[in-house]
Symmetry: none
Subunit: 419 residues, 2 copies
Amino acid sequence: MNIEIINIGDELLIGQVVNTNASWMGEQLSLSGFKVQQFTIIGDTREQILDALWKAGERCEVVLISGGIGPTKDDITKTTLCDFFGTRLVFNEEAYKDVESVFARRGYQVTELNRQQAYLPEDCTGIPNKLGTARGMWFEKDIPVPGRKGKTVYVSMPGVPFEMQAMMKEYIIPELKKRFHPKSIYHKTIMTQGIGESFLATLIEEWENNLPPAIRLAYLPQPGIVRLRLTGTGDDETEILDLVEKQADKLSLLISEYIFGEDDDRLEAIVGKLLLEKNCSLGTAESCTGGYIAHLLTSVPGSSAYYKGSIIAYDNGIKEQMLGIMPETIDEYGAVSSEVATEMAIGAQTNLNVDYVIAVSGIAGPDGGTKEKPIGTTWIAIATPEEVFSKQFLFGDSRDRNIRRAALQALNMLRKSLL
Amino acid sequence: MNIEIINIGDELLIGQVVNTNASWMGEQLSLSGFKVQQFTIIGDTREQILDALWKAGERCEVVLISGGIGPTKDDITKTTLCDFFGTRLVFNEEAYKDVESVFARRGYQVTELNRQQAYLPEDCTGIPNKLGTARGMWFEKDIPVPGRKGKTVYVSMPGVPFEMQAMMKEYIIPELKKRFHPKSIYHKTIMTQGIGESFLATLIEEWENNLPPAIRLAYLPQPGIVRLRLTGTGDDETEILDLVEKQADKLSLLISEYIFGEDDDRLEAIVGKLLLEKNCSLGTAESCTGGYIAHLLTSVPGSSAYYKGSIIAYDNGIKEQMLGIMPETIDEYGAVSSEVATEMAIGAQTNLNVDYVIAVSGIAGPDGGTKEKPIGTTWIAIATPEEVFSKQFLFGDSRDRNIRRAALQALNMLRKSLL
């Protein structure tokens, strides 16, 4: 059984609103073992809605629709649904009572616009909306598709995210499970840092070629990070979980030095957990990353338990005054050098009174590059209670991405030294 | 002329990645005067791709495709495109040179997987990719649709956002404009800070109700900022520009105290320009914003000309040691107080040796709130060469949004004091 999601709304097509409804629905459905085959996003005109309803029904056994049924006048979805299903709008007492009670809770009178929300297509099952005034509607229709058994299911929901989400969780997904008994599905994502997509692919080529057909692999790159997602599908839940986990273990052995976590793990949170376990504190000394590492670390709730602070020494004078770098070191080796990064790490360790330090000095661009030190040249130093070490990297030529890649690389170097 | 956007990628359908590509493309195209009719999001199987290509071509004269053409093996888009357009993959010397030069810049050897990126469909116009290895492909095909004049345009792009965005801006949108001559459209965005959407709406209600029909207004809220976008559409470019500018002037008078710029203006860049004009330097002292203000400031190319650095004093010990805050001040007033924010600003001004300082101390959450100082309580102090002043704000209960709102509010306070 395949599902198509239709989202209705001009605001989506002109990019005014990012379509988080579709991704939320896709995620929840796939976690429940359903296969979402397509998202279709259209404007709110009768022709587009009718075209999308027909084509979706031909492709999929279940069509979930969100948007276009709010209380404003430009909503024509409900009348178009009536035409498509050959039914008409009738006043629904029960739905009206729901609207009244929502308004009473907010201390408002029901307006005429909202009274119209109680008109529902005669031939549908209403789905209560505890959080708003527009009911969900569950329709069934014969769509002539070779091999299709039974009627095609269409469900229409409001576009307001929390109203849609409540309906999906409490009514629609449970109902779909009862009716379609989905296959077991299991996802596992391996998070890697410090290696590009094509190099990863070369390292794991043989393993990938020998994957059993029940498992698929996807590469999901972001600046500085590549996620590898394994998806297993089958009839037996335990079997498919075992199969995916076994393959994930094999994969992990091949690229262990690049793996920092799995699924929703974030480097800044992993580093924090390790510091808490060791009861150690962290500080940073940033030049080219300009506070981005501090920002990532402090975006984690509770980070004040281990993260003490940073000296952002964008200016060489501050490197000297606040981090105790010798002016001769900068003169002799340049601000972007192993020597300066190392002195930054040591200076911060002393002045911030912390156990560990991440120090970064580099050329983010677009200016400042030379032949010897092109844009993207970055030195990262890590100070631990035992030692200080540094490493040079050559990132790319985009300022934003250089900042992000340097920050993630630095966090991963710290993670490794904490292990 | 209508446009359909096809995004290919299982990661979109299972909700692992939110489809920001579609909304970015929709926004840019509609800003250029084009009408986007539909987004179609599909998985990377041959059948789905072929089905989507046919149906999109029947609906729209232009079909823009992103995703599915990276260097890894799960990409089958390119061979499916060949089948659809009745052509075959051939090795393209020019494309190979591009791949080589991207790799040479990064200091890498070209792998076999990346060599395959130089195989392109014979019957397409290649679109150079300065930021990656996968070329764009411009195809044209006769699609039998009553009333359609000329061939239908299909353009395939990589799914990596910045690669796709560069191709759209530099090549595809200009090419579409040359060919289809869209209606004149003129946008003007007024950037506001420090006031919520519904309060703005009340202030400008009368003006909004009297807008001429050729002009539309959109509210585009982000944490801390509301953008007001005026869009005029018409046949005469000069006329529509005048009309929009006149309305923008009227609007500006109504809400002048909240406006910090227009169109793509960013507060962090505006502040930088003002500092350069005054030949003054800036430092920051951050507690709850944890480096986010420094990150915003240093994300502006060339910011090292005025931004010297920051002391991120997440820990009270660092507030005392690096910023010279008296322990008694923290004991008496608490770290989130006018007194501490003021002392932070003065301490940073002295220690970083700068003309201006932004200092922030607040409770970002989720922990640390009290009855007297709930989560979101934030003190911002600004030190100028003449004075120090501070102000209290009460933001919301989301950590991420509190950090962002505090940072933007602080930058706007500095901007006003620089004027």
